[in-house]
Amino acid sequence: MNQRLWLLAATGFLVVALLVGALVGPVHIGLVDALESMIARLPFVHMDSPLSPTQESILWDIRLPRVVLGALVGSMLAVAGASYQGVFRNPLADPYLLGVAAGAGLGATIAVVYLPNGFGFQNALPPSAFLGASLAVVLAYAIGRSAGRGSGGATLVLAGVTVASFFTAVQTFVQQEHSDTLQEVYSWILGRLPSSGWNDVEILLPYVAVAVVGILLHRRLLDVLSVGDEEAATLGVHVGQVRLVVVVCATVGTAAAVAVSGLIGFVGIIVPHAIRLVAGPSYRLLLPLSVLVGAGFLVLADVIARTALSPAELPIGVVTAFFGAPFFAVVLRTSRRMAA
């Protein structure tokens, strides 16, 4: 298949996922009615929505914001995972590689334990998780740089592992001291999409937009990096600079996503690898496809998370792994291509 067909197919998948996310739930909303309600909201269209006020409110204030949020988080995690795998040439790299997860975890725990009332005007958890995640990666980068100049990504990855263990230790300590908060922290760690209206979407959108555009601009250079640091340098690429810019984009976006959704695992590994196996390893196609498929995948996972045990909710991280792993195993078995 050529590039356009793949992009078209992925866009179709995302549209279907978004519609399923908007329509499925305890209150039934029909496809046609929902589409008419959406059209009625367009500017210069004079048409009444066929939905009742309650349905209207469920669709617009609860489901759609959550669906859009899921799409943003999913696309961010998938594209960040793909680009981490590229700049570190490590198939096991995921967006949490350089300590984002551990840093965000510590930030979230501190917020839950010490700032239960937030900053007065808003919940302290997202900004605190964002700060923790950023701090962890900056530390990992500083240590990696000072330890191994010119030795490629390996030192950086080791520095990330070091920082992550340290932050996790501190987080566990704080948590043990305040075991009454275990439940809340644990549920955040498993990942869940909040149903809190458009506010989270507005906060997250600028981060994801900048990060995704920044990463996509490097898709050709990520192909060059796949021949190794030294060869890429002989082809005229400033490897360290490219790696830094891509890591900064991926990290900022991931930290913002994690701050609102918790630690949703697996998306950043499974989505890019599934795409590699069917569409090939070139980052020119892999990165845009990761954005589209990652978004659709997480929206569908969230549908399962909120309907499987309805009215209770499953943590979405459990769903991504439970359904993602078998699916990936099938792709792995049936694919002729080698995973890069």
Binding site: R220, S226, T234, L235, G236, S282, M338, A340
Partner: protein
């Protein structure tokens, strides 16, 4: 002006001068081969010429110091064939050869018509057109060598650096590869600097050999002057007979 001119070049790695005050120059269209035992500094010298390691002294490419040229500008002047190229298994030959155009594409830009034309030309020159969609992981050693050469050709750099171009090949493929490189040198007017272990082949293809030992040039000239039983014994610690340019190891 020389294509390449190296003046008092030294490279320090781990507090040891791996290359120690080396000076030489290479004219346009010349083929010079570096020989010398393991650790003599051949690869490091090539890496310094390509601007990949910090060095003292000067490396001039067409009279311009490599240290002052940007990475992209160096890449437009020097193509490197590494000893063990990293070739992603699932990448196609055409995608791989296209990487050779990297120094001509702007930071966030895409390749243009000129770049694709250069790739097709390189593929045609190396008889790879029919294989262009094959994945790198499916290629034999000889094919891989041709693909790496095609990438270097697409790079359109006048100076070609080869680090052990024949190590992974059988006797037939070794000759094929070296013949091909020599043809390309004559066709495209390339200048070639190679590092090689096979002394007989080194002497057959390069009109000028430079024997490197302990980071210094200890002998240079035609094969008949450099490939002597005494020099090989002294610097390689090997017992050999040299018969009509063939360097043959002998047992005591």
């Amino acid at each position: 002006m020389s294509a390449l001119s190296v003046e008092r070049l030294s490279v320090e790695l781990g507090r040891r001068n791996v290359v120690d005050g080396v000076s030489f120059s290479v004219e346009h269209g010349e083929w010079v081969t570096l020989i010398g035992p393991n650790g003599a500094g051949k690869s490091t010298l090539l890496r310094a010429i390509a601007g990949l390691v910090d060095h003292e002294g000067t490396v001039l490419l067409d009279g311009r110091p490599v240290r002052r040229l940007g990475r992209r500008e160096v890449a437009r002047r020097v193509a490197v064939m590494p000893q063990v190229p990293l070739m992603p298994a699932a990448m196609t030959i055409r995608e791989y050869v296209l990487l050779g155009r990297t120094p001509y594409v702007s930071y966030a830009g895409r390749e243009g018509r000129r770049d694709h034309a250069a790739v097709e030309q390189a593929l045609a020159r190396l008889d790879l057109v029919d294989l262009a969609e094959r994945e790198l992981g499916t290629l034999s050693g000889g094919e891989r060598q041709r693909v790496v050469l095609a990438r270097a050709l697409a790079q359109e750099a006048p100076l070609l650096l080869l680090d052990e171009p024949t190590t992974a090949l059988d006797a037939g493929r070794q000759q094929e590869a070296l013949e091909l490189i020599d043809e390309l040198r004559l066709d495209a007017g390339l200048t070639v600097v190679a590092a090689m272990h096979d002394l007989t082949l080194a002497g057959q293809y390069a009109p000028r050999l430079m024997l490197l030992s302990g980071g210094r040039i200890v002998a240079q000239g035609a094969a008949s002057e450099v490939l002597t039983e005494a020099l090989v014994a002294e610097h390689y610690g090997a017992r050999v007979r040299v018969i009509e340019g063939a360097v043959i190891p002998v047992r005591a």
